[in-house]
C-alpha cells in the first residue's frame, strides 16, 4: 500500500507542478463564468444554460486532463528511464501502475471539485437549487475514472500519441455503444453481427454514466440507478487497470 501511495503522491505532485494543468483549469473556469453571459443571450431558461454549459465544462476539461496527463503517465517514465530506479525499489510492478492511476484520479478529483464547485456556486448565485447537479458531477468523475484507466492501459505499451488516439476513440465509441446494438438489428446474421455484439459487450457504455440532461431538467433519477451506474463504472475501470498491470508486468525495459 505504501508503494502505491508514494507513487500516487509523486504523480499528483508532478501534475500540479505542470502549468498546462492550470491553463486547462483556468479555461474551464472562464467557460463556467462565461455561461452567465451566454445565458443572457437566450430567452427564458437562463439557469438551464448555466447548468448545461457548466456540466459540459466539468466533463470536457476533465477529459482533456485525463488524456493529457494520462497518456504519457507510464511511457514518460520508461522513455526518461526514471522507471529503472523506481522498479529497483521494493515496489511491485502492479503497485507502480496502481499508484500512477491513483495519482491521476487525485488530479481528476481535484479538477472535478474545483470546476464542479464553480458550477454549483454559479447556479446557487442565480437563486436556484444546485443539489440536483451533484449526482451528475459525481458520475462525470466515474466516467473520467474509466477514461483514465484506458489512458494508463494504452500508456503502458505505446507512445503518447497513439495512446491519446486510443483513449479518445474509446471515449467516443463509449458514448456510441448503443449504435452497435442498433446496427446489429439492421444487418444480416454473420461476421458483422458478431463484431457488433463483441464491440457492444467490450466497449464501456459511457452513456450509462451521463445523467447531465436529467440533472439540468430536474428529472429525478432513482438512487438505485445512480449506484448501479457508479458500480458499473468502477468495475469497468478496475478491469481495465488489471489489464494494464498484466501488460506492464510482461514488459521488458531494454
Amino acid at each position: 500500500m505504501r508503494g502505491i501511495l508514494a507513487v500516487a503522491l509523486n504523480t499528483f505532485r508532478e501534475a500540479i507542478r505542470d502549468r498546462v494543468l492550470y491553463l486547462i483549469l483556468a479555461v474551464a473556469l472562464v467557460v463556467v463564468a462565461g455561461s452567465r453571459f451566454v445565458a443572457m443571450l437566450t430567452v427564458g431558461s437562463e439557469v438551464k444554460i448555466v447548468k448545461d454549459l457548466g456540466l459540459a465544462a466539468v466533463s470536457i476539461f476533465g477529459l482533456l486532463i485525463a488524456v493529457f496527463v494520462g497518456v504519457s503517465l507510464v511511457s514518460k517514465e520508461i522513455e526518461r528511464r526514471t522507471v529503472y530506479t523506481l522498479l529497483a525499489q521494493p515496489v511491485a510492478r502492479w503497485q507502480f501502475i496502481a499508484g500512477k492511476y491513483a495519482g491521476l484520479l487525485m488530479v481528476l478529483g481535484a479538477n472535478v471539485l474545483v470546476v464542479g464547485g464553480a458550477v454549483l456556486a454559479a447556479v446557487a448565485l442565480l437563486g436556484e437549487g444546485a443539489a440536483a447537479l451533484v449526482p451528475a458531477i459525481a458520475l462525470i468523475f466515474v466516467e473520467l475514472a474509466v477514461v483514465a484507466a484506458f489512458a494508463v492501459l494504452f500508456s503502458s505499451f505505446t507512445n503518447p500519441i497513439l495512446a491519446a488516439v486510443g483513449t479518445v476513440a474509446v471515449y467516443v465509441a463509449g458514448h456510441l455503444s448503443w449504435s452497435f446494438d442498433l446496427l446489429r438489428k439492421r444487418i444480416a446474421p454473420g461476421a458483422g453481427r458478431v463484431l457488433c455484439d463483441v464491440l457492444h459487450a467490450v466497449l464501456p457504455n459511457l452513456d450509462r454514466l451521463d445523467v447531465k440532461a436529467e440533472a439540468v431538467h430536474g428529472v429525478a433519477i432513482p438512487s438505485g440507478t445512480l449506484a448501479a451506474a457508479a458500480a458499473y463504472g468502477a468495475f469497468y475501470a478496475l478491469a481495465v487497470l488489471v489489464l494494464a498491470c498484466v501488460v506492464f508486468e510482461r514488459r521488458e525495459f531494454a
Partner: protein, 310 residues
C-alpha cells in the same frame, strides 16, 4: 558464505525493430559476488554490462540461466528490499527538489517521516549536497544529479549497492569522492557491484573484477591473480650521459634527463653500473607491472583474434 549475487549461465538477447533479427547481449555468463566485496564488471561500451545489471534488477527477463539476489529472484519485491541502485547517466524527476526526491525513495522503502528526515540529512552530507537541498533537480549539473542518485542508492542502508557506471561524467574530484564512498561502504560491510569502463578507478578499489566483451566473460578473479606480478619493465630516469651499450628504449625528458625503459629487473644492475661508470646519476627507478588496462587490452585483443579465427 552464501553469495549476495549469483548469476548462472545467463543468456539474454533482444529482438530487433519490428521483431526482425536479434542481438545477443549476454551469452553464458556465470559469476558470483560474495558479501563484503567490491566487484567490478568491466568491459567496453556494448559489452553487455548494463544488460547484466538490468537482469539483476528484474527489469528484463533472461532467455536462459538463473539470477539471484540474496538467494531470491530479483522479480520478488523482498529481494529488492536490501538493494540500492544507481543507473547509468541517471535522470530523475526534475520537478522535485533533492529532499523531495530522497523522501519519495524513503517512502518506497517504508520508512516513517522522522526516519526519512534523519536519513536524508545524513545522505545529503555524505554526498556533499549541503546547501542544495531545496534546489529543483532540473537545475542540477550532471555531477550533482549523480550525487543525488548516489544518496538515493545508499540512504536506506542497503546491504548490496549496484552502480551502473558510477564514475562516468564526473570530474576527477567527483570520481575520487565516489571511490572513497564505495570504500567507506565496504568498510561498513556492504557489498558493492558496479560496472565501469574507467579501469583506473576499478583498479584502485575492486577486490575482484569480471571482464566482459561482446556479451561473454573473458576473465574473472582477483586483480593480483589476473595481472602478472612480475614487472614487465623498469623505468629509470638518468641525469647525465647514458652509455650506448645499455639495453632498452630511451627518451629525452623536457628537463634534459633521459627516461630509460629496461626490459626487466635483471637488466637494472648492469645498466646502473654502466651509467654511474660513465658519470651519470640515477634520479629515479619505477617498476611497471601489468595494469588492469594491459590485462583488459590483452583479453580483448585475444577475443578479437579468436573471433577472426572462427
Amino acid at each position: 558464505m552464501a553469495p549476495v549475487i549469483e548469476i548462472r549461465n545467463l543468456r539474454k538477447s533482444f529482438r530487433g525493430h519490428l521483431g526482425i533479427g536479434s542481438h545477443l547481449a549476454v551469452d553464458d555468463l556465470s559469476l558470483s559476488v560474495q558479501p563484503g566485496e567490491i566487484y567490478g564488471l568491466l568491459g567496453p561500451n556494448g559489452a553487455g554490462k548494463t544488460t547484466t545489471l538490468k537482469v539483476l534488477l528484474g527489469l528484463v527477463k533472461p532467455d536462459r540461466g538463473t539470477v539471484t539476489l540474496f538467494g531470491r529472484s530479483p522479480r520478488e519485491v523482498a529481494a529488492r528490499q536490501r538493494l540500492g541502485f544507481l543507473p547509468e547517466n541517471p535522470y530523475f524527476y526534475d520537478y522535485l527538489t533533492a529532499v523531495e526526491f530522497l523522501d519519495l525513495y524513503g517512502r518506497l522503502h517504508g520508512l516513517d517521516a522522522a526516519e526519512r528526515a534523519r536519513r536524508i540529512e545524513k545522505a545529503i552530507d555524505r554526498v556533499g549536497l549541503r546547501g542544495r537541498e531545496k534546489t529543483p533537480l532540473r537545475k542540477f549539473s550532471k555531477g550533482m544529479v549523480q550525487r543525488v542518485g548516489l544518496a538515493q542508492a545508499i540512504q536506506h542502508d542497503p546491504d548490496l549497492v549496484i552502480l551502473d557506471e558510477p564514475m562516468s561524467g564526473l570530474d576527477p574530484v567527483g570520481r575520487r569522492e565516489v571511490r572513497d564512498l564505495i570504500l567507506a561502504l565496504k568498510a561498513q560491510g556492504k557489498t558493492i557491484f558496479f560496472s565501469s569502463h574507467i579501469l583506473q578507478d576499478a583498479e584502485m578499489i575492486c577486490d575482484r573484477v569480471a571482464i566482459l566483451f561482446k556479451g561473454r566473460l573473458r576473465a574473472v578473479g582477483r586483480l593480483d591473480e589476473l595481472t602478472s606480478p612480475e614487472a614487465k619493465s623498469v623505468e629509470v630516469t638518468v641525469r647525465g650521459p647514458v652509455p650506448a651499450g645499455v639495453a632498452g628504449g630511451r627518451r629525452e625528458n623536457p628537463d634534459g634527463s633521459t627516461l630509460l625503459t629496461l626490459p626487466g629487473f635483471d637488466a637494472l644492475a648492469p645498466a646502473v653500473a654502466a651509467i654511474t661508470a660513465a658519470g651519470g646519476t640515477i634520479a629515479g627507478v619505477w617498476p611497471r607491472r601489468e595494469s588492469l588496462e594491459d590485462l583488459f587490452l590483452r583479453e580483448i585483443g585475444r577475443a578479437q583474434v579468436e573471433e577472426r579465427v572462427s
